[in-house]
Amino acid sequence: MDMNEEQPRVEDRCIPWSDGTQLLEDAAERKHFLPTGLEGIDTLLGGGLRKGQLTEITGQSSSGKTQVCLYSAAHVAARHMGAVLYLDTSNSFSPSRIACILDELPVSLIKEPKDVRLKRVMSSIICESVFDIFALFEVLDQLEVSLNGKVHHDGNKICLLIIDSVSSLLAPIIGGENSQGRSMMISVAMILKKLAHKHNLSALVTNHMVAGNEAPKPALGESWKAVPHIRLMVSRDRRSNICTATTLKHTLLASGRRMKFQLLPAG
């Protein structure tokens, strides 16, 4: 008897390959764009946050990063695209703000009354507070287990994962002589990209800005820059309340383009 027959074949150990046409088909059929609901940003991103990809928003304090996250959560859930998991590190997830964003949305074709919609949408946005890197690993691990279990029926599968902000979890451990923090940062990056790829979800993370030599720069710098597919910078004019988004990195479209967008007045 041949010994080799007992062993799994080498092809079985390797993940299956696919060719370009399959990829193109997959891109067209499954890699949908999730709208942020902010016109300027959706235009910049070619339609919104893409499934399978990691999008990063960077900007100074109070520039509108969290608002973009809240808008995206509200719009994706409102358009029946799936559930949203929101990981909040700075107690800034505001349900009342989401309710306010939803209230301004036009009532859809199926004439779902506003109060019914509010409850449906709010129920499919799940929020968890995460205050250290280990808690983040745990949550992402649980998420993976749950997605593998396929318990969710299609309408409620998580399609958008938001971490606001990933940089504040990493800031206490990065830098100095210890390189452990850096390796944890890379682990986070790998897990996020794996989740996005395998479960066809879109990941949105925020990265705060710190003072640089000349201009402010993103807190997670050069070695993180390779991680997100798209890096978007937002800034806000204090007087006019008009925000500007600039693509710093985009894997598909030219970078350096900018668009203005406006947030709804709060309250």
Partner: protein, 306 residues
């Protein structure tokens, strides 16, 4: 028992819980959906600042489960507001307050207990004015309304170095577990010890961002408000020196809300600079002998000694 994941899920599907609900429970123990959070948020009470117009721009007062940073130049009223909040959090539930207690972490030694007594008296006299009938019949509640009991409801830590400050914040988790009635933690000021004797600025950033996450966690876990008082510094931007809050750009991300106190001529003003749910707004306020109040309510303009 050796079940594979699939078997476990199949078993759960068999339960009479909706699959969705099961999944959510399985997914994350601490997670909540936004609908439940909204109704919870709407039933929350806020801590009044003592000034109606200041409460308005803050959406009703200082919110629990959030970290609010209050910054301003020396003498504009940061500590006054801090003390006022430590008193106001104790307003009994019968009188529309939270009936909680306060933790006051003093790093600068600016907590003047005589002034606290005075503010407590001012708070009580205002309560009596708003609830005259309540005062007559509620004899049991009346016992509580003594300035002494307000003073007893403040747990005070005097911190003399940044090591002590880190230690006390680490200890708070245990302390708050034992004192569940604490609804506000005030740090006056978070800056003081970190502005001196700290050579390695990168280390300072790491320590501070760790502290801010701990405070975020405490505020959420114990449903309390965290108020951080911060000093100002000058920063060279766009060709001129401008006043900004101390501790740098990295720190500026580590609060949920930011309120900046400033002078506008002879009037004290507050400016809500950052909030996830409220618009940027400003309003005048005043510091009277009774504490923080609306501007123009009485002769409250401070005579500035230049």
């Amino acid at each position: 028992m050796n079940h594979t994941d699939e078997e476990a899920y199949a078993a759960l599907r068999g339960c009479d819980m909706a699959p969705n609900k099961t999944a959510q429970k399985l997914l994350l123990q601490g997670a909540q959906n936004a609908w439940d959070m909204l109704s919870e948020e709407q039933s929350q009470k806020h801590i009044t600042t003592g000034s109606g117009s200041l409460n308005d721009i803050l959406g009703g007062g200082i919110h629990c489960k959030e970290v609010t940073e209050i910054g301003g130049v020396p003498g504009v009223g940061k500590t006054q507001l801090g003390i006022q909040l430590a008193i106001n959090v104790q307003i009994p539930v019968d009188y529309g307050g939270l009936g909680g207690k306060a933790v006051y972490i003093d790093t600068e030694g600016s907590f003047m207990v005589e002034r606290v007594y005075q503010i407590a008296e001012g708070c009580i006299s205002d309560i009596m004015e708003y609830f005259p009938c309540h005062h007559d019949k509620a004899s049991s509640g009346q016992e509580n309304l003594q300035p002494e009991s307000f003073l007893a409801g403040i747990y005070y830590f005097r911190i003399c170095s940044y090591t002590e400050q880190i230690a006390v914040i680490n200890y708070l988790e245990k302390f708050l577990g034992e004192h569940k009635d604490v609804r506000i933690v005030i740090i006056d000021s978070v800056t003081f010890h970190f502005r001196q004797d700290f050579e390695d600025l990168a280390l300072r950033t790491r320590v501070l961002s760790g502290l801010s996450l701990k405070l975020m966690k405490l505020s959420k876990a114990y449903n309390l408000a965290v108020v951080l008082l911060n000093q100002v510094t000058t920063k060279f931007t766009e060709g001129s020196f401008q006043l900004t809050l101390a501790l740098g750009d990295s720190w500026s991300h580590s609060c949920t809300n930011r309120l900046i106190l400033y002078w506008k001529g002879n009037e004290r003003c507050a400016y809500l600079d950052k909030s996830p749910s409220l618009p940027v707004a400003s309003t005048p306020y005043a510091v009277t002998s009774k504490g923080v109040r609306d501007a123009g309510s009485s002769s409250c303009k401070r005579v500035r000694v230049m």
